[in-house]
């Protein structure tokens, strides 16, 4: 693995940023050229190691198009490596490489490469954790320790999953291509799930600080790429809209001392207007298509939240009714109950919440606590807050719940 924060480097952030931005697309392109993910990663890492030396010592700094530079260098490094090996497979790969001209700024094929790689990483023959880990590693350029931290699993588990998944892709012949129209609905679902999970993990990190901007940014970037590549898939547009509208509110979600600020108390001037406009436009595009799905409906909820000076809860409730009919899960039912509280009052919402059972999910007792407090049942509310605090793993959320609880006990 390439150590990017070298002490000798005067401006290590530059290369780290280039790495983040370009790693995925370089690996994707090299995978097409070499026909093997492992070889592609090695070649791209070699190229970044060369870049670290060259860009530092060169008076001009990094080249104008660092991605193209990395791809070209990686190709040459792969060729050198293959020339030293004499196996039949190596000679075959070498022949493939020599037939391909240098690519500099061919945007189209590069995008297709990334799409192919997303579908390979999220192939249903791989386990869900392997799908997510592989997507973050290969397309997001995240290192194993970062992925392990994000998912609160040991580093050894993540690296083992990644190694096994790459081996299975190669040995079992998982293809490096975008599935055909007939398979697409089944195959798109895990891709959307992975991007959604990556964003969610970034938005409310399982441990430590509340938000991991790197994961959020990565999920948005990949969703944007997917939407550009598949502009006719309404759920792809729905997912992108959902992520943009959620991301837009991020600056207002944490207060000056790092505390959580709930939607109703957020300073709306801190919201990112451009992202909101983009998200709203996408939601309108989805509406015109008239094929609602879970991501589009959640995006519509977020569009209502970000429309005008205050949320129109009647609309939100109507959308959650649709979503619940589509996806009857307890989490959706819990979110719907929050809207019920705003439209029909806390009593009705509490009845809905008390019918739910979501083991280990801190937002269930947290919502119950809020409703009980609004109904003046202080002792019950305190007990529910205690339950929620014990379950919350994120420092900021725990801090928020503790403050709420303290406000009830004079």
């Amino acid at each position: 693995m390439v150590e990017l924060r070298s002490a000798a480097s005067p401006d290590p952030m530059d290369l780290t940023e280039v790495y983040r931005a370009e790693y995925g697309r370089c690996v994707a392109t090299l995978t097409r050229l070499l026909g093997d993910i492992g070889l592609a990663e090695e070649a791209v890492q070699d190229a970044f190691a060369v870049a670290m030396e060259k860009w530092d010592s060169s008076a001009d700094g990094p080249p104008r198009n660092p991605g193209a530079w990395i791809v070209t260098t990686a190709r040459h490094r792969a060729l050198d490596r293959l020339r030293r090996e004499s196996t039949r497979e190596a000679r075959h790969t070498q022949a493939l490489l020599l037939q391909t001209p240098d690519e500099t700024e061919e945007v189209g094929p590069v995008r297709d490469d990334q799409l192919r790689l997303i579908f390979t990483c999220c192939h249903p023959a791989l386990s869900p954790l392997a799908q997510t880990a592989l997507t973050l590693r290969l397309l997001g350029g995240l290192e194993v320790p970062e992925i392990a931290r994000a998912y609160v699993v040991p580093e050894a588990t993540i690296s083992q999953r990644i190694v096994r998944a790459k081996k299975k892709i190669r040995d079992a012949g998982i293809p490096y291509r975008v599935p055909g129209a007939a398979e697409l609905p089944d195959r798109l679902a895990p891709v959307l799930t992975v991007l959604y999970l990556v964003f969610n993990e970034g938005y409310t990190a399982t441990s430590g600080e509340l938000v991991r901007t790197d994961l959020c940014r990565e999920a948005v970037r990949l969703a944007r790429a997917l939407a550009e590549l598949m502009p006719d898939e309404p759920e792809v547009l729905g997912l992108l809209a959902l992520l943009l509208l959620t991301e837009a509110r991020r600056p207002a979600r944490v207060g000056p001392s790092g505390e959580l600020v709930v939607l109703a108390e957020q300073d709306r001037t801190l919201w990112d207007r451009d992202l909101i406009a983009e998200g709203h436009a996408l939601v309108r595009r989805c509406l015109r298509r008239g094929q609602p799905g879970p991501y589009q409906l959640q995006a519509a909820v977020n569009a209502v939240h970000t429309d005008g000076p205050a949320t129109d809860w009647t609309q939100v409730l109507a959308l959650y009714d649709q979503l619940l009919a589509h996806t009857p899960t307890p989490i959706v039912a819990l979110n719907r109950a929050v809207a019920v509280a705003e439209v029909h009052g806390p009593e009705a919402a509490l009845a809905a919440v008390e019918a739910l059972d979501i083991p280990g999910y801190h937002l269930l007792p947290a919502t119950r606590a809020d409703l009980l407090a609004r109904l003046g049942r202080t002792a019950d509310a305190v007990a529910a807050y205690d339950e929620a605090i014990a379950l919350a793993t994120n420092d900021t959320e725990r801090g928020f719940l503790t403050t709420r609880r303290a406000a009830l006990v004079p």
Partner: protein, 115 residues
């Protein structure tokens, strides 16, 4: 690439009635014909129940035989196919058809080269 499609059957559910057998033969026969017509068929067949199996071991130059399958588990290999297709997606698509016809799970495994 060559793939093995192993048909996993629950032997405790045997024997099937004559009608079930006939219907199953018809469904499986249709998929077999489809595989042959598509040019992916290499080999395929059903196996006698696992109590007809014998395990042969050679240790220190001595041959030992035991009656019955490797493991006395509920699920046994009931039959298998070998197909030749481009990639896993193609193998999975055929496995789906076989699983539907046989109404039991199919395990798909790539060959590590063939002799």
């Amino acid at each position: 690439m060559h793939y093995l499609m192993g048909v996993r059957i629950d032997e405790s559910e045997l024997p099937y009635s004559d009608e079930e057998m006939e219907a199953s033969f018809a469904r499986v026969g249709a998929v077999n014909d489809e595989m042959k017509a598509a040019g992916v068929w290499v080999f395929g067949g059903g196996l006698r129940p696992s109590d007809s199996a014998t395990v042969v071991r050679v240790e220190n130059g001595r041959t030992a035989m035991t009656d019955g399958p490797f493991a006395e588990t509920k699920e046994q290999l009931g039959g298998f196919y070998v197909i030749e297709v481009d990639d896993l997606d193609a193998a999975l698509a055929w496995s789906e058809k076989v699983a539907e016809a046989c109404r039991v799970p199919i395990e798909v495994r790539p060959f590590d080269g063939i002799a």
